[in-house]
């Protein structure tokens, strides 16, 4: 069975500092990888995804994630965070021929001024 581990439940960081949100998964088959974000009082939004090709994927708001097959990781990074990045971030995987997403427990990113 697949599982996703987000190693940090909360990550406090000062504005303009870099941040990394960690995600590891376990699966014996090929997977697709996703990061979703939930801003306060809003629904889940897709931040970025890895399906195939380049292992480094980027979002429009400066986040990036790198698929590392040997380490079964898909960590999310941003070189300089903004107050507006405060949200809960979810890592998710889906089997190559599956239909359901398997989520991690979420990481709350708190950006302080």
């Amino acid at each position: 069975a697949q599982s996703v581990t987000q190693l940090d439940s909360q990550v406090p960081v000062f504005e303009e500092a870099p941040v990394e949100l960690r995600c590891n998964y376990s699966s014996s088959v090929s997977v697709y990888l996703f990061w979703y974000v939930q801003y306060p009082n809003q629904g889940l939004q897709l931040l970025l995804k890895y399906l195939s090709g380049s292992t480094l994927v980027e979002s429009i708001n400066g986040f990036e994630a790198e698929f590392n097959k040997s380490q079964t990781s898909f960590h999310l990074r941003k070189p300089s965070v903004h107050i507006s990045d405060t949200a809960e971030y979810f890592c998710a995987v889906r089997m190559e021929y599956g239909n359901k997403l398997v989520f991690g427990a979420g990481t709350i990113l708190r950006v302080k001024s």
């Binding site: 697709y32 629904g43 939004q45 897709l46 021929y97 239909n99 359901k100 997403l101 427990a105 979420g106």
Partner: protein, 116 residues
């Protein structure tokens, strides 16, 4: 284009009562999914519709939960009778036709259910 909508946004009911949650997917999306997040834990898959057919209901916790999607448009998730452990946030998501295996799932804002 309107996103996935869910109604109600919040529901507070007593143990033993019935609650019905509704999801309206993005227009034209044949694939509809229900997920649930209980007590700040992982978001977990409940079931998947393709049009009006249940493709995968392996995540449904027990027979107190009934999901329907008559006509292949909106879907309802009924909990009857509700128990305390059913409290949580229920998310609905949809994806485009023919893209159940590769398509992005677009999520609604969720329904926050509290069973007292």
């Amino acid at each position: 284009e309107a996103g996935v909508t869910q109604f109600p946004s919040h529901s507070v009911i007593e143990k033993g009562q019935t609650v019905t949650l509704r999801c309206d997917p993005i227009s034209g999306h044949d694939n509809l999914y229900w997920y649930r997040r209980v007590m700040g834990k992982e978001i977990k898959f409940l079931l998947h519709f393709v049009k009006e057919s249940k493709q995968d209901e392996s995540g449904m916790p027990n027979n107190r939960f009934l999901a329907e999607r008559t006509g292949g448009t909106y879907s309802t998730l009924k909990v009857q009778p509700a128990e305390l452990e059913d409290s949580g946030v229920y998310f609905c998501a949809s994806s485009q036709p023919g893209q159940a295996l590769s398509g992005t799932q677009y999520f609604g804002p969720g329904t926050r259910l509290l069973v007292l």
